[in-house]
Amino acid sequence: MSESGSWSPDGNRSSEPKLTCEEALARVYEYLDGELDASQHEGVRRHLQKCRRCYPYFDFERLFLDYIHELGAAEESRPGLKDRIREVLAAQPD
C-alpha cells in the first residue's frame, strides 16, 4: 500500500492540510484504538470519508481488532484450583 503514499484524495479548497494515504495508514491503530487527539482523529476520519483505497483497509483492521477483543481473556476452569485456594485461605491466620 506504500505506493499510494503521496496520493491525496481530497484536493478541495479547505486551508487545512489534508492527510496523505501514507499519513493516514501510519495512524491506523491509534485511530482505531481511540488514541488520537480530537483534531488528529478528525483528520483521519475525513481522509477515510473520501479515500476509497484506505477505507477498506481500515475496515479490515477494525474487524480484526474487534475479533481479538471479543475473543477476550475467556473464562477457563482449572480442575482442583478452587479447592487448592480454599485450603490456602483456611490456613491463613485469623
Partner: protein, 185 residues
C-alpha cells in the same frame, strides 16, 4: 473493628471466588498458556485480595478489583524478569512482506467469522512475552496505551510499536491458518 475470620472467609468465598475462572483465563493468557504458572498467579493474587478484603468496598465491582490485583501481581514479576533478553528475535516481523497477506487475500475479513478461536489463542500464546503482554492488556483487556505503558514501565511509543508488530504477527498466523484450511489461496 475487623470482621470475624469465619465471616470474612464466607464473604470472600461468596463474592470473590466466583470469579476464579475469569482470573484463571486472564492468568493463562498473560502467562502464554503456561497452566502451572497461571495457577500460581491466581493463587497468589487471590491471597493478596483476601488479605486486603477489609479494604474492598462492598457493592463495587469485585471482578474488576480482582483482575487489577492479578494484573499487578503478574506485572511485578514480569518487570523483575524483564532484564533477561527475549529468547526470540521479533524484529523481523514488521519487515516481512506477508504481513499484508491476509488483507490482500481476504479484504472483507470474512475469515474472522470462520476461524476457530483456539487457533488465535494459540497464536497469542506463542508471541514473545513483551508482545503478548501488550496485546493481552490492550486488545483483550481494553487498557489504553498509557495504562499499558505505566504497567509495563515502558514508553508509550514502545507500546505502539509492540502492538503493531504483535498484531501483524497475529495476522500472519491467521493468514497461514486460512491457507491451511483452504479458505484463501
Amino acid at each position: 473493628m475487623s470482621i470475624p475470620a469465619e465471616q470474612k472467609r464466607r464473604e470472600f468465598e461468596g463474592e470473590a471466588l466466583v470469579h476464579l475462572d475469569a482470573l484463571y483465563g486472564l492468568a493463562l493468557r498473560l502467562s502464554g498458556g503456561d497452566a502451572p504458572r497461571a495457577e500460581d498467579l491466581v493463587q497468589e493474587s487471590v491471597l493478596k485480595a483476601y488479605r486486603a478484603w477489609d479494604r474492598f468496598e462492598a457493592g463495587t465491582n469485585c471482578r474488576a478489583w480482582l483482575m487489577t490485583i492479578l494484573r499487578n501481581t503478574f506485572i511485578n514479576e514480569f518487570r523483575r524478569q524483564k532484564s533477561r533478553p527475549s529468547p526470540v528475535d521479533f524484529d523481523e516481523v514488521s519487515e516481512r512482506p506477508s504481513s499484508e497477506g491476509l488483507y490482500e487475500a481476504d479484504p472483507e475479513g470474512r475469515i474472522f467469522d470462520h476461524i476457530i478461536d483456539d487457533k488465535v489463542v494459540a497464536a497469542i500464546d506463542e508471541l514473545p512475552a513483551e508482545f503478548r503482554v501488550a496485546v493481552v492488556l490492550s486488545d483483550l483487556e481494553g487498557l489504553s496505551y498509557q495504562e499499558v505503558a505505566d504497567l509495563m514501565d515502558i514508553p508509550v511509543g514502545t507500546v505502539k510499536s509492540r502492538l503493531f508488530r504483535a498484531r501483524k504477527r497475529l495476522q500472519e498466523r491467521l493468514y497461514e491458518y486460512a491457507v491451511e484450511m483452504g479458505y484463501v489461496k
